[in-house]
């Protein structure tokens, strides 16, 4: 197996382009972060506001799912290519996990 990495020295423009691109991406990450904080705030206030749990529970669960998707796809770069296997296995785990949770809240009693 080829263990030596072929180092490729970028030209100045290439390099600057790359720097700019990742700086842009980093700004995107900041937005993601802001959204996450915002979602958290909504979740906490929704609970504080004291609406009926039947309403709030689905909402905060949904917010949590959105927030996790942001983490996974942006902070953990799952949106980048090369993550096909990664996401396949992660989702398989999620499916198994969901089935587990589902049974435990339905057919485990008392």
């Amino acid at each position: 197996m080829a263990h030596d990495v072929h180092t490729h020295v970028k030209s100045q423009t290439e390099y600057e382009y790359k720097r700019r691109r990742s700086a842009n991406e980093m700004r995107g990450q900041l937005t993601t972060f802001a959204i996450m904080i915002f979602l958290t705030l909504i979740a906490f206030t929704a609970v504080y506001a004291g609406f009926s749990p039947n309403l709030v529970v689905p909402i905060i669960l949904l917010l949590a799912v959105i927030q996790v998707i942001l983490q996974l796809y942006y902070f953990m770069h799952m949106s980048h290519k090369g993550h096909e296997t990664a996401s396949m296995f992660l989702y398989s785990g999620v499916i198994v996990g969901l089935i587990t949770v589902l049974t435990f809240v339905t057919i485990v009693w008392w």
Partner: protein
Amino acid sequence: MDLNTKYTPQSWPDHPENSTLEGKNKFVGFWLFLGGETVTFASLFATYLALKNKGPSGMEFTTQGLFELPLVFIMTMLLLTSSLTSVYAMYHMKNYNFKAMQAWLMVTVLLGAAFLGFEIYEFSHYVHLGFTFNQSAFSSAFFILVGTHGAHVLVGLGWIILLMVRNAKRGLNLYNAPKFYLASLYWHFIDVVWVFIFTVVYLMGVMG
């Protein structure tokens, strides 16, 4: 891989985390591990949900009586922010800026440690109330779920610190870049789990 190769920002690859075979293997292997971790935590959550508020007859502890949101909110903010700082660290890693990366990791570690400190405070508070690990099925399930997450935070901190120390002199290379990257993935995953903990355990808890 030749370790003696010295990189410059210009020659540093775009994806240092998986530009070697070892890196690729680690990268894929770690994601698979996270898939397994998902199932681990799902099992813990499932058990917690099944045992929530269950205890010996006449138990006075309930999620509603026990949990206090302000503390949880602060903890959540700390952990979320630490997630962002580790993104910054990886940003500088990709730019081959070792010093900045170490600095951001340092911030991450501090935030994580603060989080852990609050968690320890919270646990000891419960223990003082008499809500100990052995008190009921509910307490066992609670401490195991949240404690397992806490243990992950601890391991994450240890891991990042170890990496920072061992590489302080070596600097960045293609042998340790994947390790930094994985540590940050791990850190994000801890945050993912926490999002569900604060939602399912605390928020849904105070609502009863």
